[in-house]
């Protein structure tokens, strides 16, 4: 059975991919993120837009295609996400 993921967990997965699992120095393409984060195109587009607006991701234009890299704020957010995921786990909860 497929595991249910909260919105927060999906954001965590996207940020973790852009931090740890980049294709090249320019960042990850949308297609790559869709595959790694296991999410639909329409849903990831909205999330990526929000993450860029929030300053958690940096968008770069590489020969006509958009690439995404994690920003400094994104790294801090991801660290907080992992810390408090562990905190909520203690209570048997998912953030």
């Amino acid at each position: 059975m497929a595991e249910y993921r909260t919105h927060m967990k999906i954001i965590g997965d996207i940020l973790a991919t852009t931090r740890d699992d980049l294709q090249d120095e320019d960042g990850a393409s949308v297609t790559y993120l869709i595959r790694k984060a296991n999410i639909s195109h329409s849903r990831i587009s909205t999330i990526l837009k929000t993450l860029v607006t929030q300053g958690l991701l940096e968008k770069t234009d590489n020969r006509g295609s958009n690439r995404y890299k994690i920003s400094g704020s994104g790294r801090e957010f991801l660290q907080a996400y992992y810390t408090f995921t562990n905190f909520a786990d203690n209570f048997g909860l998912v953030i």
């Binding site: 994104g74 048997g92 909860l93």
Partner: protein
């Protein structure tokens, strides 16, 4: 002896609730997670509830010196704690806690106006027991899913608080027995167990009250 234990219990409850509440709030400010927001409300309420009762005992000890704390203060404190226990249980997705019928919703409030503060205390303690037992079971079930050892401690803590709440309620039947003292000692143990895994959460480099740019 009971007076001293009651003071220790309420002070420990206040401090543990406050610490976990603040930690949850930091988590909420950093991640925006609704789960952490619910935990903030839960532990802030628990902390406030213990604080109200503790204040009642301190006022009695230093100001009124009547020999027993005002019953209504105790009832208010327990009611506030119960709200906290509800939010812990609610975080585990109690979706049908309140009856759906609006008639029942209006009727359910009615008994609260017909009973004395002593009876209200009975009601709050028994509801708290149910909520705590539910939280303890759900937390233990989550341990079987993710094998996080902290969940055992939190589950045991909630379980001991539930047992303490039950014994505290049952001590009304045997007022002069050791039940009430035992209930307080068990609840102190429960609060300590609740705090152990939370105290291990590293908060270094955690920014407080700063939105991501």
């Amino acid at each position: 002896m009971d007076f001293l234990l009651e003071n220790i219990l309420n002070l420990v409850g206040f401090l543990v609730g406050l610490a976990i509440g603040i930690m949850s709030y930091i988590g909420f400010r950093n991640t925006g997670s609704p789960t952490l927001f619910r935990l903030t409300i839960a532990f802030s309420s628990i902390s406030l509830g213990f604080f109200v009762i503790w204040t009642g005992y301190v006022v009695e000890d230093f100001v009124t010196k009547s020999g027993s704390v005002e019953r209504s203060i105790q009832t208010v404190g327990i009611a506030i704690q119960m709200v906290g226990y509800f939010f812990i249980a609610f975080s585990h997705s109690i979706k049908s806690f309140f009856p759906k019928s609006s008639y029942f919703r209006s009727v359910i409030i009615l008994p609260l106006f017909l009973v004395s503060s002593v009876q209200l205390e009975h009601i709050f303690r028994s509801v708290s027991f149910i909520l705590l037992a539910y939280g303890a079971i759900e937390t233990m079930l989550s341990y079987f899913e993710n094998r996080n050892k902290g969940a055992i401690s939190v589950s045991a803590g909630l379980g001991l608080l539930a047992l303490g709440e039950f014994l505290g309620w049952y001590s009304f039947v045997f007022p002069e027995s050791v039940l009430y003292s035992a209930s307080m000692i068990i609840k102190i143990g429960g609060l300590i167990l609740l705090f152990i895994p939370v105290s291990k959460v590293p908060l270094t480099k955690m920014k407080f009250d700063e939105d991501p740019k």
